[in-house]
């Protein structure tokens, strides 16, 4: 089974690369040097002064932070990841967009040098993706070892994932200006804020309590195991009973589960498209999607979703880095990664002193602030929130 799974993953990865190579047209998105060359020279707004000190990606006059600042921001991101969760990805993006001043700098080129403006947008989202998506990919591989693969489900997710991860970079690289990107980022921040907020409401808390009570009640009941014979063992595992265009069924521990293949296909597409477009790493959405929306068992889902993350990450990074030649600032990424690593250690050590629900409430406030700031900045042209 494990050998087969590895073979399937390998084949899908090769397919992702081949599809990307065959379908993609050569990049004319413009490399950094070309974009800089097309930008007017001078010391005014929207111009590049060649004698200025190189900053982000070596662009003369671009914002540049002291390396310790990147590490400190990384610690903050890592701390949030290991204590609150998904909001860490949003904060990684906030760092690039606002804290390090890249969006404001990029926006100055909106009319003077649109290619540079769009290249900076692509670079910010690829930086986000490297920082968050790649780490999510490594986590997913770890979970793959714990779970099992439901082949038809994994295939549907992965095919949707390849499409989303391929189409979004190809269709949008070099075409999205920074204002639009910041606006869309604001929408995602609001979505995360909503989920966090719901978890802190009496209804959300009650739902969790009810789930705990139901689980506890079940735990107290005598548990009957599957029959210990070869036939029984067979019935307890995952058995695909029906392959169809509109319905795939499998039994698991004697219970029948079925799903319309369109859902994981669509889910894989949407999740990997969000991941590639915003660059916040949507891999974490696969598991809640499959357990909550499709109602599938968690243990199957963990391993299966890892396959989709793996395939869509390969496609997305391959497309951005090789087909569309988006440059990134590796110094910024590696210093931030050092910070995230430190934050990942500090998070578990400190989070026990802060009640989880209050931590979530704090981040709801922060998310609403950031979300409104980005939405207004992106779609109105100015932020109603100070400092954004």
């Amino acid at each position: 089974m494990r050998k087969n799974s590895l073979l399937i993953i390998g084949l899908l990865a090769v397919l992702a690369v081949v599809v990307t190579l065959v379908l993609a047209s050569p990049s004319f998105a413009g490399k950094l040097e070309e974009a800089i060359a097309k930008t007017p020279q001078g010391i005014g707004k929207g111009m590049i002064d060649p004698s200025a000190k190189p900053g982000f990606m070596g662009i003369p006059g671009a914002p540049h932070s002291f390396w310790l600042f990147y590490i400190l921001w990384g610690i903050w991101v890592g701390w949030i990841f290991s204590s609150v969760g998904a909001f860490g990805g949003v904060m990684a993006g906030v760092g690039h967009i606002t804290v390090f001043g890249l969006a404001d700098y990029g926006r100055t080129f909106k009319s003077t040098s649109p290619p540079l403006n769009k290249l900076l947008t692509d670079s910010i989202r690829v930086c986000n993706q490297y920082l968050v998506g790649l780490s999510a990919f490594i986590s997913s591989v770890t979970y793959y070892r714990m779970g099992r693969l439901v082949l038809p489900l994994g295939l549907c997710l992965a095919i949707g994932g390849i499409l989303g991860a391929y189409l979004i970079p190809v269709l949008t690289a070099g075409k999205i200006n920074l204002s639009m990107y910041v606006g869309y980022f604001g929408i995602i921040v609001f979505a995360v804020a909503f989920v966090l907020f719901y978890e802190t409401t009496p209804s959300g808390q009650e739902r969790k309590k009810a789930a705990k009570a139901a689980a506890k009640a079940f735990e107290d009941i005598h548990i009957r195991k599957c029959a210990v014979d070869e036939g029984g063992a067979h019935a307890c595992g995952v058995q695909v009973t029906h392959w169809g265009v509109s319905k795939i069924s499998f039994t698991f521990y004697g219970q029948e589960f079925s799903f319309n293949p369109l859902w994981p296909l669509l889910g894989g597409f949407v999740i990997s498209a969000i991941s590639a477009f915003i660059g916040v790493g949507g891999g974490f959405l696969y598991v809640p999607f499959l357990t909550s929306v499709a109602g599938l068992p968690m243990f199957i889902v963990a391993g299966t979703s890892a396959l989709a993350v793996l395939v869509s990450m390969i496609t997305s990074i391959f497309t951005f880095m090789f087909i569309k030649s988006v440059p990134v600032d590796f110094v910024m990424i590696f210093t931030e990664l050092i910070g995230i690593a430190i934050g990942s250690v500090l998070g578990p050590l400190t989070s026990k002193y802060i009640p989880e629900v209050w931590l979530k409430r704090l981040f709801v406030v922060l998310a609403v602030y950031v979300g409104i700031g980005y939405l207004t900045k992106g779609f109105l042209g100015y932020s109603v929130m100070p400092g954004m």
């Binding site: 190579l21 993609a24 047209s25 050569p26 190189p54 390396w67 701390w79 990841f81 290991s82 969760g85 998904a86 860490g88 920082l131 790649l134 780490s135 999510a136 490594i138 986590s139 714990m146 779970g147 969790k208 009810a210 789930a211 009570a213 139901a214 689980a215 079940f218 735990e219 548990i223 195991k225 599957c226 029959a227 070869e230 029984g232 063992a233 307890c236 698991f252 521990y253 004697g254 219970q255 974490f284 598991v287 809640p288 357990t291 909550s292 109602g295 068992p297 968690m298 243990f299 090789f322 590796f330 110094v331 990424i333 590696f334 990664l337 690593a341 990942s344 250690v345 998070g347 578990p348």
Partner: protein, 198 residues
Amino acid sequence: MEMHPVFLFLDPYLIWLYRLSGQTLADFLIGTWALAFMALIIGEITISLAFLMVKKRIDQTTAEAAKYQRLSMEALVEGDKLAYKAANKLANDAFGKSFFMQIALSAAFLWPAFFALAWMSHRFNDIEFPLPYTHHSLGFIGVFILLFVAAYFLFKGIKYRLPHFRRIKQILDGYPDRTGERNSFADLAPERKKPGGT
């Protein structure tokens, strides 16, 4: 582009790796492979140290996730859909916590690779290898990633011979026993009789 002082300090040592054979292409591949291998080993060491520092918390979240996974599976065995849904939701929550903790920990593995790429971007930014039968070419990033993956699989074969990584493996292997929880379907499902076994 101006080099960061850290890269300036390391540059003479790192570039030495690229001057071993005198053949340009071979030197590039040997140097990049050595760099990828070093980045991999440093990453493996830092993630293992970070893991040891937060092991206690990881133990807790892993145990919680495992507990609800087990419950959900047992609820399935019982045919109790309500209990299954409840336990499945809690398993999902616990999984989320554990997943994001691991995302942050993964940074400890990745940073040396990006350090290497940052240095390479100063030295080899213009290098391109045309891909046959396509309009595309492979830059230094592509070569590094391919060699990093190769180094990963090579190191995987030998790393548990080293005492530090053997200790980490023992800890990881011991998870199901220590938490008292099952770690896979196979643990819950009845044992199959091995052919010819007893």
